[in-house]
Amino acid sequence: MNITNILLMYIYLIVFATGGLAVYGIISKNNLIKKIIALTIFGDVVNSLIIFIGYRLVPKPLPPILPSLNPDKALYKLYVTSSVDPLPQALVITAIVINVAVVAFLVFLVVRIYNSYGSIEYDELVRIDRGGST
């Protein structure tokens, strides 16, 4: 096992530890806004994992942008052999925007809940729903 594999495993462990924390937050937090924050963290974890899989293990990886508009053969060859994978990045941009849209909608729902019930604590909402006083 060389140093690269250890580093890879370290990154996987960090990513999944953050994911576990986010899942814990989504389920166990009482405040609805905190639940939404944990949900966005979970989305970011998945996005970073997808981008990380597209990384290229060469000494000097390049971003997937050709640095010149009139490349010669040598520059083009360097770019083709050392650029990272552009496909995960394109997919992740889509995922980020949809994530933002979903979060905006959820925040709107929370605002409406606050307008109707006067609270965003889950326990409090359950108590009100069972007939307790506000």
Binding site: S28, R56, L66, V84, L87, A90, V100, A104, F105, S116
Partner: protein, 267 residues
């Protein structure tokens, strides 16, 4: 009540640790398919090879930015559906908010309370910089990192900063009105549809950018004189910039107007 909470909390904690160990095991043993290595996926390699291949232009997209050319050329339908998802979610949020906004209450005399003068001035300077940066991201998205989505979401930060630093009334007086934003969004969507449907007139396919052997569409111009345009990407980026930025601003405006006009009702 309290005891039940601690019990369920510890169960969830144990469950998430189990999930974490399981996922790590799957990843380390190669369960998610592919580790980063010296070679990337062949599909990604195809996009890298062809997005600005001036030696063989059969499948090129006319843009050195591989990510933007995937977004708007190779996998353009993805992006169109994504715009639809954003559209529907904003429409849903507006439906939730619109009837609750009390317009009469909002037209009453406007005073800027906000924060201190230092905060107000610095917020104004920062939002000007943010607007410049976002325009740069959107307009040069076909040759440098960025694009319509990144530029649009960066642009919408500026009104948000102004709302939190000064007040919602300040940006309404600046011209960020709800109905105006909805109209600009419609213009952006119209631009998207025109650019994506134009190739059909030459028997091309929807969202076609550069000429292909199977169709007679001549392709959007990559160069006009010395000016580099990058095919259809620049028009699509500008339209998407309009759509995304105004949609986010609509969300912020509707949310803060809703909060202002229902203030004190809940208690």
């Amino acid at each position: 009540m309290n005891r039940r909470n601690t019990l369920s909390g510890s169960i969830v904690f144990v469950l998430s640790i189990v999930l974490f160990i399981m996922l790590s095991y799957i990843a380390i043993t190669g369960g998610i398919g592919k580790h980063p290595s010296e070679k990337i996926n062949c599909l990604g390699q195809f996009f890298v090879n062809n997005s600005y291949n001036i030696f063989n232009k059969t499948f090129w997209a006319g843009s050195p930015e591989a990510v933007t050319s995937i977004l708007w050329d190779y996998r353009g339908f993805d992006t169109i559906f994504e715009t639809t998802v954003l559209f529907i979610s904003i429409a849903g949020a507006l439906v939730l908010a619109y009837k609750k906004i009390n317009w009469d209450k909002l037209i009453t005399p406007l005073f800027d309370k906000g924060l201190t003068l230092i905060v107000k001035t610095s917020v104004k300077i920062i939002s000007a910089i943010v607007i410049l940066l976002s325009l740069n991201l959107a307009l040069r998205g076909y040759i440098s990192p960025g694009g319509g989505f990144a530029g649009g979401s960066a642009y919408s930060i500026a009104p948000l900063l102004l709302i939190s630093g000064l007040s919602i009334y300040y940006i309404i007086r600046l011209g960020y009105k709800l109905h105006k934003m909805i109209n600009i969004r419609t213009i952006g969507l119209l631009g998207l549809s025109i650019v994506s449907l134009t190739p059909l007139l030459w028997f091309g396919y929807i969202l076609q950018n550069q000429p292909k052997p199977s169709t007679t569409f001549p392709g959007y111009p990559v160069y006009i004189g010395p000016l580099y345009l990058g095919g259809s990407l620049i028009y699509l980026n500008i339209s998407e910039f309009l759509v995304v930025s105004t949609e986010f601003i609509i969300i912020f405006l509707a949310m803060f107007l809703l909060l202002k006009s229902t203030k004190g009702e809940a208690e």
